[in-house]
């Protein structure tokens, strides 16, 4: 079937646009995807753009791509996403999550945080990015305001890392059900456990995978609770 061929072609074009950080091609391919009957926007995103981004992640780990390349690939991906997203019937990975993310007070290292944020964007999360050097109270405030499923804290220095503990203690008191994930170079699994975080990941890909798992369990709990009520 010609249309099936064409579908493949467009998906490949979307994927390559991301890998080759070609914003124009991403837009063009996204348009073509919308015009082709039978190709859902959802598929174009997940079997085109996201597949491309996965490859980019691999190239980054293999040190063929560096941070500038990664950021440009993300721009291409966002360009395609912007066109496709309004046409998505339901964006569903099994979970649809929201996340508040930022680098803690006293710390301006935000390259890593931005990469993690991008992965959440890619996966269709609603992302509230508070930026860098974020006052500790602000994390708590914003989480409560947005009622996000997830709170992500990044720190690149051993001193600012201790600020995470304060945020975690504070938010646990006010909202025990939110899932908290921490990361950054000095953070380890042990630190995460000691601070009482729910999750830790060494890099952006693992961060996303863990986040999806955590939110999944959160939703199960909710469903269960609601099921019981009924």
């Amino acid at each position: 079937m010609a249309s099936e061929e064409r579908q493949k072609e467009i998906l490949e074009k979307l994927k390559q646009a991301v890998i080759q950080y070609d914003e124009d091609q991403a837009k063009e391919a996204a348009q073509e995807a919308l015009e082709l009957e039978g190709l859902k926007a959802n598929d174009a995103i997940f079997n085109g753009l996201v597949v491309g981004m996965q490859e980019v992640g691999r190239l980054f780990e293999a040190q063929e791509y560096f941070v500038p390349e990664l950021l440009m690939c993300a721009d291409a991906l966002y360009a395609g996403l912007e066109i496709l997203k309004p046409h998505v019937e339901e964006l569903d990975l099994g979970v649809k999550g929201s996340v508040v993310i930022g680098t803690v007070e006293g710390d301006v290292h935000d390259i890593g945080k931005n990469i993690v944020k991008m992965m959440f964007d890619v996966a269709g999360f609603t992302v509230y990015d508070l930026g860098r050097d974020v006052p500790l109270d602000k994390f708590v405030e914003e989480q409560l305001r947005t009622d996000s499923d997830l709170l992500c804290l990044s720190a690149m220095m051993t001193t600012t890392m201790t600020g995470m503990q304060k945020v975690i203690d504070d938010i646990r008191k006010k909202n025990p059900k939110v899932k908290i994930m921490i990361g950054g170079a000095p953070v380890s699994k042990d630190v995460a456990q000691k601070y009482g975080a729910d999750g830790y990941a060494a890099d952006a890909t693992n961060a996303l995978a863990d986040a999806i798992k955590m939110i999944g369990s959160l939703k199960d709990l909710k469903d269960e609770a609601e099921g019981k009520k009924k």
Binding site: F66, V67, P68, M72, V108, D133, T158
Partner: protein
């Protein structure tokens, strides 16, 4: 073995590739300790903006521990401030928070081309304070301890005065535009460095950690960063060091090519390999983890690490970054004791 040289003699000899009584143990990056701060009764947030407090704090580390240098300042904002950026010292924090830039100078990629470098740059921000502090530190330590300082590399400075995300993308998309900015910043860096030289520093370190291979490709380092570094080192007259932390194994040849007297790398560098690559003449400083070993380790782990650095072929023991203030005195002492005992 008794020490027969002063720290200053020892360090200056290292830069000339001459024999020393024992391995030098020093740095070109900050060495504030909470031990020194509390002895002086100073709050960390206050020592950045007062020449006397800065000089005393910097001098406390060699005085307390016999460390082979005195380094000032402690933050990375001097050049950016002279260009008009605004610094946050976290005055209300009792914790050790390092100053950050809260207000940048370039707010959009367009403004890169219209960066205004004030004619009286070296009279702005804390440059005059730095001159004074260097002079005071010199006076306080006499001829026994070398006084060093650092400036930022052009790429790292660019990241301080504009949004780093934009800089990173443009360094790929519009390298010419970025290169032009780095050229302007090179002039700024040289002007500031010359002031430090006039004030009496014994050596200078250029910190270009923004261009680490954790972030930027070795290819981009060579084509975009290296030409400007060369211009900086050509203009300096005191011994100089190029410092880059994180992944550096692939760029050490370029670091040498920059023209710096010595190169400085952190614990992520494989020194044995680097030494093999660069040969016996290269002056290589490194490469212990200033937090995980010096602060979080035991004295025995510190000793082991110092021995390992020396066994792998560093020219002087030197931390991978700023010494982290909360270093336990026992660990600092263990480090110094180990370099005194070391036999090659």
């Amino acid at each position: 073995m008794a020490e027969t040289m002063t720290s200053r003699e020892r360090v200056l000899r290292v830069f000339r590739r001459e024999e020393t009584d024992r391995p030098a143990c020093f740095s070109g990056m900050g060495n504030v300790t909470t031990e020194g701060l509390s002895k002086l009764g100073y709050q960390f947030a206050k020592v950045h903006q007062d020449a006397r407090m800065m000089a005393e704090t910097a001098a406390s580390t060699p005085k307390l521990f016999g460390y082979d240098c005195c380094i000032l300042p402690f933050d990375l904002a001097v050049e950016a401030e002279a260009l008009g950026a605004v610094m946050n010292t976290y005055p209300d924090s009792a914790d050790i928070l390092y100053p950050t830039i809260k207000e940048k100078v370039i707010h959009s990629p367009e403004e890169m081309e219209t960066l205004h470098v004030p004619a009286d740059l070296v009279e702005r921000g804390r440059v005059p304070l730095m001159r004074e502090a260097i002079g005071l530190a010199r006076k306080e330590l006499g001829e026994t301890v070398p006084v060093g300082s650092y400036v930022l590399g052009p790429f790292t400075l660019a990241g301080q005065i504009m949004e780093l995300n934009d800089l990173l993308k443009l360094s790929f998309k519009k390298p010419d535009k970025v290169s032009k900015l780095l050229e302007d910043l090179t002039c700024v860096i040289v002007a500031v460095a010359r002031e430090y030289e006039k004030a009496g520093v014994d050596y200078l370190c250029v910190r270009e950690m923004g261009a680490t291979s954790d972030v930027l490709s070795p290819r981009a380092f060579k084509s975009l960063i290296l030409p400007h570094l060369k211009n900086i080192f050509k203009a300096l007259s005191v011994p100089s060091v190029i410092h880059i932390c994180g992944k550096t194994n692939d760029i050490v040849p370029f670091m040498v090519e920059s023209g710096a007297t010595a190169i400085s790398v952190d614990q992520k560098n494989d020194i044995v390999e680097t030494r093999k690559k660069l040969g016996p003449e290269a002056i290589i400083f490194g490469n212990f983890d200033p937090y995980n070993v010096l602060v979080a380790g035991t004295p025995e782990q510190v000793r082991e690490t110092i021995r390992k650095c020396l066994d792998s072929g560093v020219s002087a023991v030197w931390p991978g970054c700023d010494i982290w203030p909360t270093v336990p005195p026992d660990n600092f002492n263990a480090m110094m004791d180990e370099v005194r005992k070391y036999r090659r």
